[in-house]
């Protein structure tokens, strides 16, 4: 069992403090750091520079895939493999495929959204060095935490700690990664 430094964990007590600290960290050229919050913070996406999430595209792909697939299925089953004549209507027409395709588009979109979210967030991930920290449990309660990674180019245990404290952080602690 060897352990190496994973990063520095700093605690803030309000979302406003966290947002200001995040802005300053970014302005000071830190790159490998991340805020952890009990709720989505309005305006944080912008500070972090996140572009529009790709989850929407995954959901669209899932929905479109199912829509076209079911349209094909209806044609294949009712018009091609075993043609069924109902009420003298055409064997295949786009309107008759619409309802099942549309319903299954919703199913595909929903699976796309959930699986896309999990995939992009790299979940499930049951091991995380941060879980070893007792204080990190506050993040699902009322604490707003910023973790600056040790792999950041500007990271230096003492300097970064002082910088975080100057931003109003409490309990700045070293997080270790047990290997």
């Amino acid at each position: 069992m060897s352990s190496k430094v994973y990063g520095l964990m700093a605690e803030f007590s309000t979302p406003g403090d966290l947002l200001r600290a995040a802005e300053k960290l970014r302005a000071n050229g830190y790159a490998k750091w991340e805020p952890f919050t009990p709720l989505p913070i309005h305006g944080l996406d912008k500070v972090m520079g996140y572009k529009n999430s790709h989850v929407g595209w995954v959901a669209l792909a899932g929905g479109a895939f199912m829509f076209l697939n079911v349209a094909f299925l209806v044609w294949f089953t009712n018009a091609f493999e075993y043609p069924i004549m109902v009420g003298g209507k055409p064997l295949f027409s786009p309107p008759m495929t619409f309802v099942p395709s549309y319903i299954m588009m919703i199913m595909g979109g929903a699976f796309g959204a959930l699986l896309g979210m999990l995939g992009i967030n790299q979940l499930p991930r049951l091991h995380n060095p941060l879980f070893a920290k007792k204080r990190f449990e506050g993040v699902t309660c009322d604490k707003f935490i910023i973790v600056v990674g040790a792999n950041d180019g500007k990271f230096c245990p003492d300097g970064t700690k002082k910088f975080l404290e100057s931003l109003g952080a409490q309990n700045v602690e070293i997080v270790e990664d047990q290997e």
Binding site: P15, L18, N78, G87
Partner: protein, 476 residues
């Protein structure tokens, strides 16, 4: 000091008291207090009222339900009251009723999210649970009323050597897809909404077993900005898709009826009629659940009277739309000049057989609903509970009027016949009610019953642009 000065300034800018929005959480003492409050019930010992409610529900779900189910499956649909000409009886009445109960849940959790109603965060989770469990009950009925339940797989497009494919031009076939999709999508939505709250319970858990269970369910959720960023997007997408489902599932159930030639069914208004009826019935169930659970789970500060008032108003709105649809339905029956239509609609109130349900439908869905105009009634939890129960019965009666009332006397008097539910019909209905309440009680006790992170987002402490959320003058 700067914060206090800010609050004073904010008070000056704030609108007068009568125009101010009521807070989402009353007596809010901060995020930590909120976390304690919202997870308290899932962590406390099982209360006595819960046990008292659970035993009969579990008895109905695990004894009455399987007995009625297996007897019907082994013997045949003949054990029910269904017979010529009433091929659809309580099985379909209850199917529509359960689907209906589900709809208001989706409407609250998805549509009110899209319209950014913050108060919905407190009741959204309870509404979603209601949806998931009632769709389960609904899905059961069509599966067994086909008669030979072991051939249910014929309904799915599975390649077989006999080349049996479903016939996709039929709305009954669309129903299979609609109900299954509804169950899947609402379950996914329910589960995804709970992931951050599983993490809350994980971090609060005292025992190892609890910690393990919630760790697995939370899947390693840390609440990082990146995770929230993608989570919020997925949530919006799922809400949009669920909103589509609100309008689709009951429409398709309505199409099952209006494509038939029977007088009383053959009307183009049916898809809309069923959607609104479903939502109205679901709001009735929501009123019952919310008014009782807010007290029993000690959540009065979170599920405030103000929120219940809003649910009651939505109930009133959907009730008024359904009243309008009744009016239109009767008008068109008269205006069509079709003697069979006129016969059926006249007999809804003045027939010998099922007029009771017709009058119940009018008395409850039309008259009782009007009580919700009165502010005092919307503030009285006991009265609202009973109005909710009444609406559920009223909407059940409406489905009875539509399903049985229209089929028992059709075009030829030689075709007339009566429908009486048998003990197996009644038992199965009691069984599904028991199963629903058993699942709901388990949910209330063991899962996060209120969306903790969402409620936090609707409080000033969670808003970085509010003084209580740490905003400073001239900046964030």
């Amino acid at each position: 000091m700067s914060e206090i000065a800010n609050i004073e300034e904010l008070k000056k800018l704030a609108p007068p008291a009568e125009l101010r929005r009521a807070p989402v959480v009353e007596g809010n003492q901060g995020l930590s207090w909120l976390t304690d409050k919202l997870s308290a019930f899932a962590e406390a010992k099982v209360p006595v009222w819960w046990k008292i409610a659970f035993v009969p529900a579990a008895f109905a779900a695990t004894v009455i339900f399987p007995v009625c189910l297996f007897y019907q499956v082994f013997t045949g649909v003949g054990v029910w009251g269904n017979n010529h000409p009433n091929m659809w009886g309580w099985d379909i009445v209850n199917f529509i009723w359960w689907v209906g109960v589900a709809h208001a849940g989706t409407l609250i959790s998805a549509m009110l999210f899209l319209t950014r109603q913050h108060w919905r965060t407190t009741i959204g989770r309870m509404a979603e649970a209601m949806t998931v469990f009632s769709v389960m009950m609904a899905g059961l009925y069509p599966a067994i009323h086909v008669g030979r339940a072991w051939f249910d797989w014929f309904m799915f497009p599975v390649p077989t050597s006999n080349g049996n494919w479903p016939q996709f031009k039929s709305p009954l076939m669309w129903d299979v897809f609609a109900v299954n999709t509804y169950l899947m999508v609402s379950s996914l939505f329910f589960f995804m909404g709970m992931i951050p709250d599983f993490a809350v319970l994980r971090d609060r858990s005292k025992t190892r077993v609890r910690k393990t269970i919630f760790s697995i369910l939370a899947m390693g959720w840390t609440g990082s900005a990146w995770q929230w960023h993608n989570y919020e997007k997925a949530y919006v997408v799922l809400c949009g898709l669920c909103t589509l489902l609100v309008f689709t599932v009951s429409s398709i159930v309505g199409l099952d009826f209006c494509t038939a030639q029977i007088a009383g069914w053959h009307a183009t208004i049916f898809p809309l009629y069923f959607v609104i009826g479903a939502v109205f019935c679901g709001f009735g169930m929501m009123l019952c659940l919310l008014t009782s659970l807010r007290k029993l789970c000690k959540l009065e500060e979170v599920i405030t009277k103000n929120h219940i008032d809003k649910v009651a108003k939505l109930c009133l709105v959907s009730g008024l739309i359904i009243n309008y649809i009744y009016l239109m339905e009767f008008f068109i029956a008269w205006y069509s000049g079709d003697p069979y239509e006129r016969w059926v609609f006249g007999h809804r109130f003045f027939g010998h057989n099922y007029a009771f349900f017709g009058w119940m439908m009018m008395l409850i869905n039309v008259l009782t609903t009007q009580l919700l105009w009165i502010k005092k009634i919307r503030a009285n939890m006991t009265v609202l509970f009973f109005i909710g129960v009444a609406i559920n019965f009223g909407m059940w009666s409406e489905r009875m009027v539509i399903v049985v009332g229209s089929t028992n006397q059709d075009f030829l008097p030689a075709n007339w016949g009566l429908y009486h539910p048998t003990i197996w019909d009644i038992g199965l209905y009691i069984g599904t009610l028991g199963a629903f309440f058993m699942l709901y009680l388990l949910f209330v006790k063991f899962l996060p019953v209120i969306a903790i992170s969402e409620v936090k987002g609707a409080t000033p402490q969670g808003d970085p642009h509010h003084p209580l959320g740490g905003a400073q003058k001239g900046g964030h």
